[in-house]
Amino acid sequence: MDYKLEAKNANLWYGNKQALKDITLSIEPNSVTAFIGPSGCGKSTLLRCFNRMNDLIEGSRIKGEFLLDKANIYKDIEVYDLRKRVGMVFQKPNPFPKTIFENVAYGLRINGINDKKLLAEKVEWSLKNAALWDEVKDNLNNSALSLSGGQQQRLCIARTLAVEPTVVLMDEPASALDPISTAKIEDLIYELKNKFTIVIVTHNMQQAARVSTKTAFFYLGELIEFDETKKLFTNPEEEKTQNYITGRFG
């Protein structure tokens, strides 16, 4: 099996605090993998290792291997290149205070693409893939901040897709949104897995069950269980998983 993303005996410390403990897991291409677990369990931390966003946090250090298409993320791939291949969508919609068009074009522009026709094509492609095109196609020059929260988040997804990553990491992408916007994002995630490999961190177990093919349960920095979503939610191997999904803690 050619895995898209792998973590091998991965450890991470913030200062003296160990946030990830010896984690090994492999993620298949064109799948949706959900990371679940109570706050502080390390799920977001692990997610951020895959595009090295933890580098921005002072005092973080890692041990172990993180692989993208078999290449070591921290050694063999340049960080800027890595982040173009492994895009990220954040918890709170964070569009730039620019126009809708310029938000999506940002990733292309920083790659030196300035050809108007090409930009327009790519922006349209990205917005269509993010299921936002029909809502904004007549207002591409409006400020992105004029959109609703749900639209802003889909815009951020479009912005991430524009540079055509192969992996999209999503850090609780719907936690700041209303139920209708959340449903739209979930439909979108389901669609996107045809073209991209998706890893999503979520607090919402129903969401994990709805959108993901595989689910990983973390607790206190350890990977407790990683299995087919259906199996993990109906017949977990571990007692801790059982307790968490039935709401006994977390």
Partner: protein, 294 residues
């Protein structure tokens, strides 16, 4: 109970009086400027004031054209801004995006000392050190010139730009930084394509305040730029600014309540109008763009 209320009321009135004091001072200044300016303009045509290219109120053949003083003021200010904006902004971006917090915490206070140096010290620094130094490279630079005090003034206003711009950059939500880095942008791209545009209103305000400060600066130009009102944009020449002229007349032996004496009020009013407009623009920018992320 009534006693308490009276006390509260008294305190409130006292505080109100304090704030009124500043308003009254401003009004008083405007009033003084206006009264003497009106008297001045009853003798000198306002058209001549703004179109005559000579300013010689102290000579026997009198001309009252503010233009030479205005160009002197604008020229030195322009040179200062040319120095301060690129340097100030670069420092702000460096401190905010590149430097470690430790470094920033040490450098920022040191930088702010620049604004605390007495301007008379800057003046002599420009006259005694910078001008001779520049003359090594520019042989036809006059002993009094616009270039040297302009440059020194530029250094003086760097902290105004750096400090306020740095605050504006720091106020940009870190989520925007993350978004940019998350797409594979470099620090440079993040700083110039995301942070600077997002902080542009604060940066504009900082630049405008720095310009106001340079326009009104007196000591540096009075010492190092000379006292020859000359309609020129040549930085190698000696020029006189509005502020220098006011100092020159008020320290001199011009009889009070004469036309010559009133020239300083007309000149002062002109300068005041400039800074007043600039301050209002910056106030307007701040109002308009505030709460952009809330």
């Amino acid at each position: 109970m009534i006693h308490m209320r009276t006390k509260e009321k008294a305190i409130e009135i006292l505080m109100m009086a304090c704030s009124f004091l500043t308003v009254l001072t401003t009004l008083g200044i405007i009033l003084v400027l206006l009264i003497d300016s009106i008297k001045f303009f009853s003798e000198v045509s306002i058209v001549d004031f703004f179109t005559d290219t000579q300013w010689t109120p102290l000579f026997s053949e009198k001309h009252f054209g503010i233009l030479p003083l205005l160009t002197g003021t604008l020229l030195t200010t322009f040179i200062a801004v040319l120095v301060a904006v690129p340097l100030g902004l670069t420092i702000a971006i460096y401190l905010n995006e590149y430097a470690s917090p430790k470094f920033t915490n040490i450098v920022k206070p040191i930088l702010e000392v620049l604004a605390a140096v007495p301007t008379v010290v800057y003046g002599f620094f420009a006259l005694q050190f910078v001008t001779p130094l520049l003359q090594q490279f520019i042989p036809d630079l006059r002993g009094f010139n616009a270039l040297s005090p302009g440059l020194v003034m530029g250094v003086m206003i760097i902290p105004y730009i750096t400090s306020l711009s740095e605050d504006a950059l720091r106020a940009v939500p870190s989520s925007l930084r993350e978004a940019s880095y998350g797409m594979g942008a470099t620090k440079f791209q993040t700083a110039f394509k995301v942070l600077v545009p997002a902080a542009s209103s604060g940066i504009m305000v900082s630049i405008i305040l720095a310009i106001s400060r340079a326009l009104g600066e007196t000591m540096i130009v009075a010492i190092a730029a000379g006292q020859e009102p000359r309609l020129t944009f040549n930085p190698k020449e000696s020029v006189e600014t509005i502020t220098t002229y006011i100092v020159q007349v008020s320290m001199g032996d011009v009889p009070q309540d004469s036309l010559e004496y009133r020239t300083i009020f007309a000149a002062g009013l002109t300068l005041f109008l400039f800074t007043f407009i600039l301050n209002n623009i910056s106030f307007w920018i701040r109002k308009k763009f505030q709460n952009k992320y809330e």
